[in-house]
Subunit: 216 residues, 2 copies
Amino acid sequence: MRQPAGRSPRRSGGERKPREERWAELIEVATQIFYEKGYDGASLQDIADRLGMLKGSLYYYIQSKEDLLFDVISTVHKDGLAVVRARSEIEGDPLQRLENVIRGHVEHTCRHLVPTAVFLHELSSLPIDRREEILGSEHAYQGVFRDLVHEGQAAGQVRPDLDPRLAALSILGSTNWVYRWFRPGGEFSPEQIGGEMAEMAIRGIATDEALRSRAS
Amino acid sequence: MRQPAGRSPRRSGGERKPREERWAELIEVATQIFYEKGYDGASLQDIADRLGMLKGSLYYYIQSKEDLLFDVISTVHKDGLAVVRARSEIEGDPLQRLENVIRGHVEHTCRHLVPTAVFLHELSSLPIDRREEILGSEHAYQGVFRDLVHEGQAAGQVRPDLDPRLAALSILGSTNWVYRWFRPGGEFSPEQIGGEMAEMAIRGIATDEALRSRAS
């Protein structure tokens, strides 16, 4: 269950369960409204209206609209990062682990389309200190992909002339872009997209030798 | 030189050169301000202020802020589409032409970062009829990539199990994403990014046989 991640949200003790449920509902509605109207276009009044609450009651949970955006973005970022980190640590050679990471990232994106879209569109609406609080000092997400490419080079599985950062950005581009065109119940399933994207990415960076031993 | 593309912009005869120069300057400033403040956050007053004009004088060129957004987006889309279409028609086998298309697309994106960002962020701010007027009924841009993948399959150069639309979306994702991280004068040049992305994409979709004959 989600916990408030805003800057010192106002909470008191007692009635723990209902409060947390109410918070989860608030975040869900805020995510949807930021998605529909954009962060600048969305107001606390819109959010209160959809929840059937008075706007003043929102201040029981947050200090500002920015607290809600911070929570939406930090939650989807933290959850996605946990997925790719966990998969990068499963046993296997670097290309097997990268394949697994790509599948996980695509499936997570497809299953959390709306908060992912808010993350990718509205990150720049947060002040720089809160952005850095989420992303970390050195792009943790990108680092998972870059490190696996680098490990693959050390293991002779990835073309040595390739820049690991450029490879990571290329893979993140194709997989992140999914949030713009994927539709649940559409032509392709998350697993199918993840599988095909992983296959294209792995073949795109692998040495001829790694591809041969992979096929056999 | 750019021509007004807004919905019946108000223009009269005479003094052709200065008017067109003024229009180009107006579009350049509008692009920059939409980029900095977002379309919703930008006002005609902001644009007039930066041009050193009275806001009322803008109505000599346009009927609304939307006319400016329409022009910014339709121009960068039309120019980019012309680049990839021209390259897709240069002589060569399908993979050679696709490689050329990818390089052209990446270089165009890197050289027109600001209008590309406005296009990708603000397209949904246009009403649906004007969006369709720009994109065409069937995603012309995506079609160039998809058709080349399909031709490559017919020629035995591209893996037959790959869905051409999924391949096109993967390539467009990695290459479009460049607008989010490329910085002029940074670590990578547009040509280097275009070359590496093309190499990864081609290897990602090619048959083993096509790769062998390409290397030799």
